[in-house]
């Protein structure tokens, strides 16, 4: 058993680091401050094929494996969680097509997404259906060879800039009234209205939109899988992408820890660097332990997904919950180590702290992750 990344992944890590240092690092604070989507960086991520990473090679991607993807996301998130969300968001929106699309649907939608020419979003959450996916109220009614979609989606990452969305709605049988949760590929067009953008605490520069579907007509050929496959598809998507959220959290934690270590070396109080004080050493050690544990859980979860291990869903839940809790802990302690400077916007750790919080919430709250983990232990019926 070898817990080291192989040379190919280490090499990829270095390449992403080079890209991040050149393109992202100089813009990270500015993106947070201006809260505007960084189109220039999205172009760089597309040019260097980071956006192509979730996709199989036959559709213009680099392979679609999760482990390389989490390595890349971790590297980006060390510097900017907002930028790390660009490939994550692209992946989240596209996975349903990759997992459940027909060959025709894949050929039609995936190459444009892999090249980064088009952006994708995932339309699951609603004002009254967050953790409770089954409580979704959006509807789709078949009318000839089209579905008519109505409803509201909230907290949709990149909802306003996406060209293509994978949207969940309940197909309503006109005769029986029976409802079947289903998934559709929706191309931006008439009937889709961006109502407003959320003012978020963190991950600034990643617009989160409220979308309103007003009798939007979608070709019946855009249904993913069969009618009623929606819940299964939604869960399969999250099984895959939860490792990527874990990687974002891991990157944030590592970025904050690196900054705190450097600060502890340089900051002098009472005549010596604060890193010589055990109070600071204890904090740094705890931060390192949690970050390293988060790293290995994240890599294991990604590797299990790539190997199609039967317990991959459980491990992605463990990684997501642990890494995001670790990121919250580490960024909080990083602020404490930096003291007043940590609380100031002149230093990056307060941004990392704000960016860490969302990791415990989106793509399944950590409470939901714990339910997934507990049920894997207790078995069905709990």
């Amino acid at each position: 058993m070898n817990f080291e990344l192989d040379k190919e992944l280490l090499f990829l890590k270095e390449m992403v680091r080079d890209l991040v240092q050149e393109k992202v690092a100089p813009r990270a604070a500015e993106i947070d401050e201006q809260d505007e989507f960084p189109w220039d960086i999205k172009e760089a991520l597309a040019e260097h094929e980071i956006l192509a990473m979730p996709f199989p090679e036959e559709y213009g991607g680099t392979g679609g494996k999760v482990l390389p993807m989490v390595i890349a996301i971790e590297e980006i998130a060390k510097v900017s969680a907002s930028v790390a969300m660009i490939p994550s968001g692209q992946c989240l929106g596209s996975v349903a097509i990759i997992l459940a699309g027909t060959e025709e649907q894949k050929q039609r939608f995936l190459p444009g997404l892999a090249s980064g020419e088009k952006m994708c979003a995932y339309g699951l959450t609603e004002p009254n259906a967050g953790s409770d996916v089954g409580g979704m109220q959006s509807t789709a009614v078949l009318d000839g060879d089209e579905y008519i979609i109505n409803g509201t989606k909230r907290f949709i990452t990149f909802g306003n800039i996406a060209d293509i969305l994978t949207v969940f709605a309940k197909i309503v049988d006109k005769n029986t009234g029976e409802k079947k949760l289903s998934c559709f590929v929706v191309e931006k067009g008439e009937g889709l209205v961006v109502r407003n953008l959320e003012h978020k605490m963190g991950v600034k520069g990643t617009p989160t939109a409220e979308l309103f579907f007003d009798n939007m007509r979608v070709p019946a050929a855009n249904l993913l899988g069969a009618e009623g496959d929606g819940f299964k598809i939604a869960m399969q998507v999250l099984d895959k992408t939860r490792s990527e959220v874990a990687a974002q959290a891991l990157g944030i934690a590592q970025g904050a820890l690196d900054y705190a270590v450097q600060y502890a070396r340089d900051r002098v109080q009472f005549g010596s660097p604060i890193g010589k004080f055990q109070a600071i050493q204890m904090k740094l050690a705890d931060m390192e332990m949690k970050t390293q544990a988060a790293r290995y859980l994240t890599y294991v979860a990604a590797d299990k997904y790539d190997r199609k291990a039967h317990d991959r869903g459980k491990y992605s839940a463990i990684a997501k919950a642990f890494a995001s809790d670790a990121a919250m802990y580490v960024t909080t302690e990083a602020i404490q180590i930096l003291g007043g400077y940590g609380y100031s916007k002149e230093y990056p750790v307060e941004r990392m702290f704000r960016d860490a919080k969302i990791q415990q919430i989106y793509e399944g709250t950590n409470e939901i992750q714990r339910i997934v983990i507990a049920r894997s232990l207790l078995g069905r019926g709990f």
Partner: protein, 256 residues
Amino acid sequence: MQIMVCLKQILDPELPPRDFRLEKGEMTPAAEGVPLVMSSFDQNALEVGLQLREKMAGATVTAVTVGPEGAEDVLRKALAVKADRAVRVPLEQDSKLSGGIVAGLLAGAARELGADLVLCGRQAGDWDGGQVGLILAEELGWPGANLVTGIEPGSGGLVLKCELDEGYEVLEGNAPLVAVVTNHETNVLRIAKVKDTMAAMRKKVEQINVAPQGGRLELASLEIPVKEVNCEIIPGEDGVEKANNLFKRLLELKVL
């Protein structure tokens, strides 16, 4: 045209001084557990080679390094930015390895490869010796151009843009020649793409064996300077008095 680019693996110049140590009888910087990178001027040379290849149909870029197996990492980085071939001249890390010996090894590789144009960085980022490029030209018996920032194909051969103190000069010449490259905003090494990066690990690195020769200058000793910082407060009521006291103290210390 066969373009050969010489690349050296060095300790990361960003390495904090506290992590810098010597080994092998205090004659060699320790490379274990510290990041190793491609020397920065060599990166500029590689970019000049890649740009020239894009402008010359049929041209190829071969990345060459002298060193142990671990040095192949710099070749893989070159392959990731789409160098056509990668060649290592095997040589264990050796404190007696002078610029002249390295130039001799690279000259042997250039002959073996049938290179038309050899590109080198102006100096390695570790020792800053700055000798290899022009000694290599001498070894090969080719003209050598120094402080080159870019090369274009011209009507009669190659056009080399070279940096001067306040401006630049343009040289024209025919291959074979050696160009010693310096950094410029136009020759920052491109960043690889994901697929090329992953593929680079699977590509073959060739080996060319050349026997080292020469070495009349040998390293006798090496030491890390010990820095001592002493702080002395110069007394005085006001600036004039403090300045006078400082002046006297500096005379005492023979600084002035």
